[in-house]
Symmetry: none
Subunit: 409 residues, 2 copies
């Protein structure tokens, strides 16, 4: 069954924003078994929105739209849909109440512009917004079921999962199955070389790659006579792929590297302390983005200044003066210091030069010393990363997490 994705917004046609909504929706619709034949973006122009909807209403069976449902004057989607259908825009009292409650809970009063978000084309099927003020709606345009959702990604995703997916899932026949493996440790070209020939061995399987620095996601997509057949083929191919990739696979689907390392530490019953310098708290931030981190993470001491390293972590000033703040010795002293003051089982410390300035001949930008301290002793690893400041910080944080994972293993 064919479908199309329509994203509405001048910020997109002006190139001010990468259109991640289209990608997310295309993947979700493909996963349901739809053939997404067109992704289209138009600017906030009533006539163009209308003409595009009419065209797609003749071409496909399902249209999924985002954007233009906000409270401001450039949000024109509802009007454009009503004009296309030749119906009035009417206010929905239940939606208005939900918006009012949400806004009052935030300690504000309902404003006229918020009230606009309770307006819908007459006869529309209203889709509640579980996490924001703007509800969505569904209508029929030509031969297509069309769904309209806000452009804010997490609101759109939640609304799609809760209200759109259940309405369209029976329309498509799903004859594909996909597994996404998350890998860390090899560049895309080498990951690809490890998997050379897999598609020839497993007819009907396509291997896809997606680089999300420094990770490579590997997608194993199988197509069969039925979903069951596709799943069975996918399972067999995934077993082969996992065997070839071995220890660079750390998880599946939406696992995060920090989350997986954190769970490993927690499952061992260990507590962790971190001391960061060049990574500026990134390691701790990655670990605490997921709930449950407070069960094992006691402290992350982000000590930029040498004075903070000595005063908070008890590092001997002489060590810093003698070897420099970016040195194997200081990394070890930071890890041992934060382990001692926090009383944690395991400690990770990172010190380095993230750039763009601060590099020297012997310690160029990208030099990072990573120390892991445990009851059994301290190990320091020296790394040299390339790229922007952000890439160096990210690469260092991943390397630190990887060393922690191995220290638990």
């Amino acid at each position: 069954m064919t479908c199309a994705v329509l994203c509405i917004g001048t910020e997109l046609t002006r190139g001010e924003l990468v259109n991640t909504n289209a990608t997310w929706l295309a993947a979700a619709l493909t996963d349901l078994g739809f053939d997404v034949v067109e992704d289209v973006v138009v600017d906030d122009d009533r006539a163009r929105i209308g003409a595009t909807l009419e065209r797609l209403g003749k071409a496909v069976r399902v249209i999924v739209c985002t954007g233009g449902l906000g409270p401001t004057t450039d949000d024109l989607t509802t009007d454009a849909v009503a004009a296309t259908l030749g119906v009035k825009v009417v206010r929905d009292d239940a939606s208005l109440e939900a918006i009012r409650r949400r806004i009052e809970r935030a300690g504000r009063a309902l404003s006229p512009s918020n009230m606009k978000q309770a307006d819908f084309p007459q006869g529309a099927d209203i889709l509640p917004n579980p996490v924001g003020t703007a509800p969505g709606f569904g209508v029929t345009i030509g031969g297509a079921s069309a769904f309209f959702m806000p452009g804010v990604p997490h609101e759109m995703q939640k609304m799609f999962e809760e209200h759109v997916r259940p309405r369209i899932r029976t329309l498509a026949t799903r004859n594909t199955h996909q597994v996404r493996l998350r890998t860390y440790g090899l560049p895309e070209s080498l990951v690809g070389e490890r998997l050379a020939g897999v598609e020839e061995v497993f007819a009907g399987v396509v291997i896809g790659y997606r680089a999300q620095f420094p990770e490579i996601e590997v997608k194993v997509l199988a197509r069969g006579a039925s979903h069951e057949a596709a799943r069975e083929l996918c399972d067999r191919a995934t077993t082969e792929v996992r065997a070839r990739l071995a220890d660079i696979v750390y998880g599946e689907a939406d696992d995060s590297f920090a989350g997986v390392v954190g769970r490993t530490i927690r499952n061992k019953g260990f507590t962790l302390a971190i001391a960061e310098s060049c990574t500026g708290g990134l390691v701790g931030h990655m670990m605490t983005r997921e709930p449950g981190a407070s069960e094992y993470l006691l402290v992350d001491a982000v000590t930029y200044a040498n004075s903070a390293k000595t005063r908070l972590l008890g590092i001997d000033e002489e060590v810093i003066r003698g070897h420099g703040a970016v040195s194997s010795e200081v990394a070890a002293a930071m890890a041992e210091g934060v382990r001692r003051v926090s009383g944690a089982d395991l400690a990770l410390a990172l010190t380095g030069i993230a750039g763009p300035a601060g590099g020297t001949e012997s310690k160029p930008v990208g030099t990072v010393f990573i120390a892991v301290a445990a009851g059994t002793g301290t190990t320091v690893t020296e790394k040299h990363f390339l790229g922007s400041r952000h890439q160096i910080q990210t690469a260092a944080a991943y390397a630190g997490l990887d060393l922690l994972r191995r220290a638990c293993g």
Copy 2:
């Protein structure tokens, strides 16, 4: 002058790849003065490529396309264009020679699939590829000049700069100017209300909004008889917009809130220490994403465990036991503690419940205490945020930065 971007590829319509080419081209075309009215993505389907080109050839004056020029069987763009124009596909000897030289330099032999990349619709204007094997080409479709380039981003960008930009730059007159203002402190609906009527007062100005939680970006886009006139109009409108938004505007274009607050602190000659609990290092991470943070930020002590609060920051255990870790008293003690141990001028501390678990009747999820300690004393602010864990953390970090900014002011 209107234009459209067409990206061709099933990897895009399946959502396997974020379409950064569309964003890059839309920004480049907007910068040249074109109105990009549509970005469209279609799968590798000859009929759909042809139908889309015919439609766009009637709607716009310039069409810029990427993808489908590769050597494999699913690369159908050249065939589709020739069929649309009703012309033959012919081989270009000079292009074939260039491809042969490029492939032989890489130590390989020319294969039949490579030879296909020297085929073009008869009469096309060939665009050499300075960095890859696939040349591009230009043709006229309906009323539009259409340009076809490879989908590999760095090849496309180079070809656009060297061969497409010079061919189209005289077609558009740049008659727009835009200023982007970054705001924090009000929701989108209230920002919009403050700017009600601005578009009516300044004819030719369009106000746009983009929510990037918890910020709202306000775009003032002016259109005039010339770029100069547009700039002048934009400046006048921006002065009015700034006056109406007053202190919620913190910067322009690509400024970041943490960067602006950091510069304020640095310019005052202050040093800063941070103690975080519920925000998990986010405040420090936001400040250190930009270079220069190490000049004022001495330490960010992310103390999750109560033991870390007492051991690193010297907080009296009785205070935690008596009031709870999430309390005004502990926030104040954290700020004063990290200020004392680090020797910083200013200190910020945050303690709260980011959720999803951990809330109580008197302190529900979203409760955050934020303390700022300075030589003149300590101030604690109690906040209640709504949303997901990530939103609560982000909202708390922004609120903390805002309190710091005001403490400097």
